[in-house]
């Protein structure tokens, strides 16, 4: 008996110790009422300092507290927000913006031109993805209290739309200067973080900012974000009504979500996956320098079957690296390379490789087992010997960026045409690790950078057509995401976004 008593007593003591340690509170996980929108982001929150802010899934954390200079419509058209007007100079190197007057941060600081300058220069100095979108900025001039002039080293066709996302979000300059912004967000957004109902890492509660200028655009009184990384936990939380919306990261959860009465919405996430050919000049594998070999690779893949089996239907077959929502995309290009292993073998033979050749690819089987299997099998079907190099998954990206591999399976985010060019096409682009270049590509990129409107769109299309024709890569599909919502909530998907922004959610009915 004493043994049992001992165990019980020590357990009770430790339990009370555990209870004492729980100072701050999490939400009780109750189903949302009409006034609360509870979402489960797939990623953990980042620091509140926008200089450390990422894009994609991370944006939902910033949207409640920080308002942005511009706002993007669901089709990514740029609309006024904190900035009411904007215009470029003739050389497109100075962007002048007129700010909405009378807007204040929740600490009482005015949102004026000086605040915008502080924010843009602060975020630009950062080390994360939002900072990367502002790297072309060389300075910001305060023209007067409501006018700023943003100076660029060269035209940046993506800057204006990027100011409608995290890169254009504004935090209180006072909090930035004090350094408190890393742990406590102070913005001018529609909500403020309620620290008493927030537990870092598990629940973030945002309540209405009563002084917000555009309350009507945000129908919910409260926003709660509960990061959940496990797909099963996400599904269970949705089915039991503990959250109103979440990304279904696993395709196998779609059917159970539908049968539970959840609304499942499918949309293009912006990622393009498939085989990226890094060695277009044949620096590592000579064969890849021949366009016929790269085209052979494109004929080797049965894209629609890969989407159906390896992707469980979550993708749209494509031969292009550009996002379907962008102006560079051309549906007709998707029929350029049909699945034709015989043609692939013929092209290899014409290029002088009748028996194929060998390539070494990094192992991604721990993360993308089906995709890796599909790639290896279909390359081997046309006679290309694939050696899989076992490297830790944490070294995968560094190894690719270091230019270690001639080609690999990869999924890259594809935003607006200019972003895609900057990220993976330009000679100096990060995701052009072996710095491939082609005079025609360089020429089209240079022309597109300074062009505007329809002329620019036409140049983007020409570039895309050329890249597909030259088989710079062998993409498989534009990745599709599925987002599930409970009955009381609806949303509109957002072009170029991995998850819908909070202002696209509305109460149903």
């Amino acid at each position: 008996m004493r043994r049992i008593a001992l165990t019980a007593v020590s357990a009770v003591l430790m339990l009370s110790a555990a209870a004492c340690g729980s100072g701050s509170g999490t939400g009780s996980g109750k189903a949302a009422t009409g006034g609360t929108l509870t979402l489960a982001p797939l990623v953990a929150a980042q620091p509140w300092d926008l200089a450390d802010a990422g894009l994609g899934n991370n944006a939902q954390y910033y949207q409640p507290v920080y308002d942005s200079l511009l706002r993007l419509s669901p089709t990514a058209d740029v609309k006024p927000n904190l900035a009411t007007k904007w215009s470029y100079n003739a050389a497109r190197t100075v962007l002048t913006m007129t700010l909405r007057s009378g807007v204040k941060f929740t600490d009482g600081t005015a949102l004026d031109a000086a605040a915008v300058k502080t924010n843009l220069l602060h975020t630009e100095k950062g080390t994360s993805e939002a900072a990367g979108q502002l790297k072309g900025i060389t300075g910001v001039d305060v023209v007067n209290a409501t006018t700023v002039a943003i100076k660029l080293s060269a035209p940046d066709p993506s800057l204006v739309p990027n100011l409608g996302n995290v890169a254009g979000m504004m935090a209180s300059p006072k909090a930035i200067d004090a350094g408190t912004i890393k742990t406590t967000p102070v913005g001018s957004g529609p909500y403020t973080l309620d620290k008493s109902a927030t537990t870092d890492g598990s629940t973030y509660t945002f309540v209405r900012n009563q002084g917000y200028w555009n309350k009507a655009a945000f129908p919910f009184d409260k926003i709660v974000l509960k990061p959940l990384t496990d797909p099963t936990a996400v599904l269970n939380a949705l089915r039991s009504g503990q959250v109103n919306g979440a990304l279904l990261a696993s395709a196998k959860n779609i059917a159970p979500a539908k049968s539970s009465g959840l609304t499942v919405t499918k949309y293009t996430s912006g990622d393009v996956e498939g085989v990226y050919i890094w060695d277009r000049e044949g620096k590592i594998v000579k064969a890849l320098g021949d366009v016929r070999v790269r085209q052979a690779l494109n004929y080797a893949f049965d894209r629609s079957t890969i989407v159906k089996t390896a992707k469980q239907g979550l993708g749209k077959a494509t031969t292009q690296i550009f996002n379907p929502a962008g102006s560079a995309f051309d549906e007709s290009l998707n029929s350029t390379y049909s699945y034709d292993p015989a043609k692939a073998k013929q092209l290899l033979a014409e290029a002088g490789y009748p028996h194929g050749f060998s390539v070494t690819v990094p192992d991604v089987s721990s993360v993308f087992p089906d995709q890796q299997a599909a790639m290896v099998q279909q390359l081997e079907d046309i006679g290309i010997k694939v050696k899989v190099d076992k490297i830790p998954v944490t070294q995968f990206i560094s190894a690719l960026l270091a230019g270690k591999y001639p080609l690999s399976y990869m999924t890259l985010a594809s935003f607006r045409p200019w972003d895609t060019i900057q990220i993976e096409v330009a000679k100096s682009a990060l995701w052009n690790p072996l710095h491939s270049s082609d005079p025609k590509v360089t020429d089209l990129v240079t022309k597109a950078q300074s062009a505007t409107g329809a002329a620019q769109d036409a140049l983007f299309k020409q570039l895309n057509t050329y890249l597909v024709d030259q088989a710079w890569n062998a993409p498989w599909d534009s990745v599709e995401a599925t987002y599930a919502t409970t009955k009381g909530v609806t949303f509109t998907p957002q072009a170029f976004a991995a998850v819908p922004p909070i202002y696209n959610f509305k109460p149903a009915g």
Binding site: A18, A19, S28, T127, G132, Q242, W431
Partner: protein, 313 residues
């Protein structure tokens, strides 16, 4: 007794230091690239270099470890490289979650395994066979499967208990109990099975011992024989299993926390480990090793209490 305790605590501290050093070395030597993950796929090389410098990753292993150790001795466990959250406050948020489910599971398994083990050993026959069969089944079924079934059937379909999330005891006692019931039960199944077998085995051995026969022949009541003598002698073995179960349960909590969307130390450790978030991993390791050391010392004290011979030794 005090000398024994001091010696055990000193040994525990050395163990914490050795494991911390080894973990730090392993985190540094695996060659993972947390910086690229922090700054994102599209960050430039300059951004990567700047972030590396900010985190001190451009310094040698010895310098970094020296800084970390000096900070820890000043009570500063650093901040997560990914979320910027202080490791101390994140442990304060997450440790109660894990301890709640692990200790509740331990309590449930201690009580149920003793009842089942003693009953099987005393009654034998059909009951014994049923208990043994259940023990084998309980041991064979992985806790994540039990967790999944509980979450879906009891949490989602029946809606009796929450399928995900944790409510701190300070916020609501009933909410807390509801939020930990399913995770703790899923976690305890394997522990009950293992410990019940151990209790049963030890009791069977003890009940066969000569002194039990002698006590019986003296006409001592069966209840007194069972609880005052037999169970006390069978207890140390069961306690060892329970102490080991504690460590095992902390490991099992990783999976159960994921299934129930609980933000405990287990799910934090796996996420931080896969990301290469060194400050968080180190914080978790130090705290967990310290906890295991404390549990072992408590178990040693319990042995001593149950068996004076150990104290002399």
């Amino acid at each position: 007794m005090i000398v024994f305790l001091v010696r055990r605590i000193a040994a525990g501290l050395v163990l914490v230091l050795v494991i911390a050093t080894t973990t730090f070395a392993l985190m540094s030597l695996t060659g993972s690239d947390p910086v690229r993950q922090i700054v994102g796929q599209t960050a430039t090389q300059q951004q990567v270099t700047a972030k590396s410098a900010e985190l001190g990753l451009d310094q040698s292993f010895v310098v970094r470890y020296g800084h970390w150790l000096a900070d820890v001795l000043h009570g500063n466990l650093g901040s997560s490289w990914f979320s910027g959250e202080s490791v101390t406050s994140s442990l304060e948020n997450r440790l109660p979650v894990t301890l709640s489910i692990v200790l509740a599971a331990l309590l449930v398994s201690a009580v149920l395994s003793t009842v089942l083990g003693v009953a099987a050993a005393v009654r034998r026959g059909a009951l014994d066979q049923v208990v043994q069969l259940l023990a084998v089944l309980g041991f064979a079924v992985p806790s994540f499967l039990v967790a999944l079934v509980f979450a879906v059937v009891i949490g989602v379909d029946l809606g009796w208990l929450p399928a995900t999330g944790y409510v701190p005891l300070a916020d609501s006692a009933s909410g807390w109990l509801k939020s930990i019931t399913l995770p703790a039960l899923s976690l305890s199944v394997g522990a009950i099975a293992a410990t019940a077998q151990q209790v049963r085995g030890s009791m069977v051995d003890v009940l066969r011992a000569d002194y039990v026969r002698t006590l019986r022949s003296r006409g001592i009541s069966e209840r007194s024989l069972l609880f005052r003598h037999a169970l006390r002698n069978a207890a140390p073995a069961a306690l060892t299993v329970l102490a080991l179960q504690f460590i095992g349960l902390v490991g099992g909590a990783v999976v159960v926390e994921k299934v129930f969307g609980l933000n405990g130390i287990g799910s934090q450790a796996t996420t931080a480990g896969s990301q290469g978030d060194t400050p968080v991993v180190m914080g978790v390791v130090v705290v967990m090793v310290a906890l295991v050391v404390v549990v072992n010392i408590l178990m040693d004290l319990a042995y001593g209490w149950l068996n004076p011979k150990v104290r002399v030794g």
